[in-house]
């Protein structure tokens, strides 16, 4: 029952910053419902790669083929900007490490969740508010906080609000860059549980970037290990973490075990 078409085909993505390598010649397929983890130490090119895939950065070379709902596989990099932007706020989602980058801090929680709905044409206040309420509850934020600004929320709540704001349009693909990064360990665990539940319920595909191997262990079906902008090892999460082949992966895994 394997589907015939990957949801996303990444081919030869390269992005340099002047003479410095950001990420180099990265290729992989993401299948519907699959969670791909990208791990590697700080500076290994994870964020650069994710930004290139999600459309926040333009890669120097490479292609991105996405299986669109309407027209099947399309080259995302060749799409006109309005179409790419529409994709970015309907079928795709992006959760930033810093909630400040992914939320409107001056807008109420309800307005934050409702924005994507309004961007795609929702014009009924009552309906927008009902959906916002529903989504706040799904990410375990008391619906009574709907008119509060994110500033008044804890770090974990802000992150959950960011997730609600992204998932309200029922996307198929979610990108996350260190989503548990700045959080306390107990708060991290709760967020990971929530994410895992949502990914399963909604059948989401995901690309998640993290330096934390515990996060990919919990969420990712497959992982890619990056070093100096390149993928040095890839495979099923358990296989790679339990039996690392590349010396760098061995080092990563052992340094985690020492903690």
């Amino acid at each position: 029952m394997t589907p015939q078409t990957p949801l996303l085909s990444v081919r030869g993505i390269t992005r340099n910053y002047g003479a410095r390598i950001g990420c180099a010649d990265v290729s992989f397929d993401l299948w519907p419902g699959e969670v791909m983890g990208i791990v590697g130490e700080s500076g290994s090119g994870k964020s650069t790669l994710l930004s290139c895939i999600a459309g926040h950065l333009t890669p120097d070379t490479g292609s991105l083929i996405y299986d669109t709902r309407a027209d099947g596989p399309r080259d995302v990099l060749a799409m006109p900007e309005p179409e790419r932007r529409m994709l970015g706020r309907t079928d795709w989602a992006f959760v930033h490490q810093n909630p400040r980058d992914g939320l409107r801090m001056g807008v109420s929680a309800g307005g934050n969740v409702g924005e994507r709905l309004m961007a795609v044409g929702a014009r009924h206040y009552g309906d927008i508010r009902a959906q916002a309420t529903d989504w706040l509850e799904r990410v375990e934020i008391d619906a009574g906080r709907i008119d509060d600004r994110p500033r008044q929320f804890s770090g974990g709540m802000q992150q959950r609000l960011q997730i609600a704001r992204n998932l309200v349009t029922a996307p198929r693909l979610i990108f996350m860059d260190e989503p548990t990064g700045g959080l306390d360990v107990s708060v991290q665990a709760r967020l990971l549980d929530l994410l895992r539940g949502l990914v399963r319920q909604m059948g989401l595909s995901a690309v998640i970037v993290t330096h934390d191997l515990a996060v990919v262990r919990l969420l990712a079906d497959r992982i890619m290990v990056m070093k100096d902008g390149r993928v040095v090892e890839a495979g099923l999460t358990d296989q790679v973490l339990d039996d690392p082949q590349h010396a760098y992966t061995q080092l990563l895994v052992s340094s985690v075990l020492q903690v």
């Binding site: 900007e81 309005p82 932007r85 409107r104 001056g106 807008v107 109420s108 309800g110 307005g111 409702g114 924005e115 994507r116 309004m118 961007a119 795609v120 929702a122 014009r123 009924h124 206040y125 009552g126 927008i128 508010r129 709907i146 008119d147």
Partner: protein, 288 residues
């Protein structure tokens, strides 16, 4: 007098401003950048409007200047004098007599006609500024018709106040394409923006933007299906001329809570009184 060129600005500058105006007319609601000049008055006095007026004025024009609907405020008087001195044009307070009207915060009550130009003074031209301070981003939003944020602003309004509380500078969609800030006119005036036979020009001096609504252009006030736009006003009639359909200012008349409502459009009110209309507090001796 002539230390100045006609209407103060040199011909080169006027040509540059006219090009911006023409571009604005060609793309209704689009904010055209222009190189705003120093004017011999502070920014808050409507230097954007003054430059647009200077670029449009011809010796045969008859100019009217209003501030909050009144021809006799300091601001209106000094702008009118400025153009009397620098352009020697005729002036009037009657809307129907004027060929060019510069305004701050109102659209006259009397219907405008073809051939008239209404010039608005604009403090902040960008309607998306409130939620998105980055100019690069607001420009992209306009380019891509990415206007969800405008409704977020109205959503916030309802969430906070139970209704769309925005009563001035109420955002509009021009010709089905560009979202525009109509300058701080009361939303009561918004319907008059649409389908007007007159040419409407907007000038923002400090922000260096000109935009336009050409004659007979459709202008729609943004709203929600379950919170439709309403052109509201105080539920009173003018205490001087008795009009119950014009926009009113509330005036405190004593320190015991006495107050009256009078037309904000002074020309409209005067004309009605001269025609014999009387409101609740009109002077008894002038009652015919």
């Amino acid at each position: 007098m002539s230390d100045y060129n006609f209407a103060y600005l040199d011909e080169q500058t006027k040509r540059m401003i006219r090009r911006a105006i023409l571009k604005g007319v060609a793309v209704p609601g689009y904010q055209v950048p222009f190189a705003s000049r120093e004017m011999p008055m502070p920014y808050g006095w409507g230097t954007g409007g003054v430059q647009v007026t200077a670029a449009c004025l011809m010796p045969s024009d008859r100019l009217k200047v209003i501030d909050q609907g009144a021809d006799d405020t300091t601001n209106a008087v000094s702008i009118r004098r400025f153009f009397q001195r620098t352009a020697d044009v005729a002036v009037t307070s009657h809307t129907h007599e004027a060929t060019l009207i510069q305004t701050r915060h109102r659209i006259p009550e009397a219907p405008l006609r073809e051939g008239q130009i209404l010039v608005y003074q604009v403090p902040i031209p960008e309607p998306l500024r409130f939620l998105e301070p980055r100019e690069t981003e607001t420009r992209r939003m306009h380019a891509l018709e990415d206007y969800g944020l405008m409704h977020v602003k109205l959503y916030e309004d309802i969430a906070r106040n139970g209704t769309i509380a925005t009563s001035y500078a109420y955002p509009v969609m021009v010709a089905g394409r560009y979202v525009m800030d109509p300058s701080p006119i009361p939303k009561f005036d918004n319907p008059k923006l649409s389908g007007s036979p007159a040419l409407q020009l907007f000038g923002a001096g400090r922000e260096q933007r000109i935009y336009a609504v050409p004659p007979y252009t459709g202008v729609v006030s943004l709203d929600f299906e379950d919170h439709p736009f309403e052109a509201s006003k105080a539920p009173h009639a003018c205490d001087l001329c008795g009009d119950d359909g014009s926009y009113l200012d509330e005036v405190i008349t004593d320190d015991r809570g006495g107050r009256m409502f009078v037309c904000s459009d002074t020309d409209h009110c005067d004309c009605r009184q001269k025609a014999g209309h009387r409101g609740r507090l009109a002077m008894p001796e002038t009652v015919q």
